[in-house]
Symmetry: C2
Subunit: 275 residues, 2 copies
């Protein structure tokens, strides 16, 4: 089963367009995990168990693991998802971008070592930096298009023949790079008008949409801008708002129970505006 | 001592603008290393010892280590350079690019975990994706500008207000992002005319120049296009041509001796055209 088919199937089965981001920051973990050597694994497994029923994808952010020398923990977490929730695709958020021979190594890292179903990729170095990922025919490459950070405009909004650069990236991917239906795009939630423009350019291509939750994007505006005609085609990502759901302190909730509740609420809020 | 000062000092001391790239590919290692569990470390240490006298920088490519689950070996190799050749800067070739909170993690990975002096960074997400690296005041960020691969033109050559996109990146970095003199640019050797245009835009900023050797760039044209007025400002990278110097089989040379010879020849060829 390909990444795209897997994503479609679980989106229907779980009635979800919510991607749960795994950005483990031990300083934010509940106190009882602070002294545990395997805190990252314990924390992520609990979040995964709590949110699997409402997630269309899990998105581990590799930087958080790399800074902590925790690649083996990331391997274990990915294996845990594949074993216990094989229907849910893993999107490795790595934003890699390098020339062909090096990109082949990064593809092995993502798809062989971690067993990811898809990986985020940077388009700046062009098609031959993306192509090695597409050699893995059952996997996906989700390419940065319009990002949710303030500095995203520095390059992405430059005027290329009358259109912003990110329009060209969207069209390049949709019209030239996506020859086998393996590509998606990263488009932030913080600019709904621009998200709508990208959706208009790329048909039903899946969009990974960060920027709701802690980053402040509005769910209604995001969904209305990002949905396909069928009310789908989105992986709307929330990381910190789910992982570190503050309410668990105030309400005496377990962190995983709080994460479950926030994930359900977010999934349901998304669904409210899908059609 | 800052990255830039360190680079200048060793360039003078070793009369070198040659950066030695460390892209370990065990399939290409000499036969006697094939069965060794620490083959990557042994191979890289031998290359480092053989080329240190002629190198202005070492550039480990992290993808080769990540694909092989060899982060600990990379740590050991970086530590070996810092201990034995503390004058030679380590440029971690990671081409990271992500939003602020995540970029902070990548900066920790490069500068704290691996002890790199500089790291390559992708500009597509804008200044706030670069800024966290610049918080480390003695380190450097070397930003992708014009890359040496064929697909580099897909985005970098797009027409932005009458100039190719990579001109805008060069100017952004030189005029806005490089507030503390910590930035460099990656500009490939395969397009000497374009390298000359970038040099004209950025003054004395250090340029990391891949693409000679195995990638086919011409040394004379590269040096004449990339040098500053003082005949410096370059880290001209060679990886495979040094690491896997084919002659060692034919001549019965040790692989490290062959690497030393090719590194010296390359350093000297570069110097022939510096002034």
């Amino acid at each position: 089963m390909t990444f795209i088919d897997k994503l479609s199937a679980v989106s229907v089965a779980s009635n979800s367009q919510l991607c749960v981001g795994l950005d483990p920051d031990p300083a934010k973990f509940p106190v009882h995990l602070h002294s545990k050597p395997d805190a990252i694994v314990q924390f992520c497994k609990a979040i995964i168990d709590a949110t699997a029923a409402t997630a269309c994808a899990f998105k581990p952010q590799i930087a958080y693991f790399a800074a902590l020398r925790a690649e083996e923990q990331l391997e274990e977490i990915c294996k845990y998802i594949r074993t216990n929730y094989p229907a849910i695709p893993i999107v490795l958020d790595a934003k890699r971008g390098d020339i062909g021979a090096t990109a082949e190594q990064y593809a092995r890292e993502a798809f062989e070592r971690y067993g990811a179903d898809a990986v985020t990729v940077n388009p700046y170095m062009g098609f031959d930096s993306v192509q090695p990922y597409l050699e893995w025919k059952d996997r996906g490459a989700i390419i940065l298009c319009r990002t949710s950070n303030a500095g995203g405009s520095d390059l992405q909004f430059l005027n290329v023949d009358g259109k912003p650069l990110y329009h060209h990236v969207a069209k390049l991917v949709a019209e030239k790079w996506n020859t086998n239906g393996q590509c998606g795009l990263v488009v932030g939630a913080t600019f709904p008008n621009e998200l709508a423009q990208v959706r208009a350019l790329v048909g039903d291509m899946p969009l990974l949409i960060p920027g709701i939750g802690a980053q402040g994007g509005d769910i209604k505006a995001t969904v209305e801008a990002g949905r396909t005609a069928a009310g789908a085609g989105m992986m709307i990502n929330s990381s910190r708002a789910i992982l570190y759901a503050k309410a668990y302190d105030a309400k005496g909730e377990d962190f995983a129970a709080a994460a479950r509740r926030v994930a359900q609420e977010t999934r349901d809020a998304i669904n409210q505006y899908r059609n």
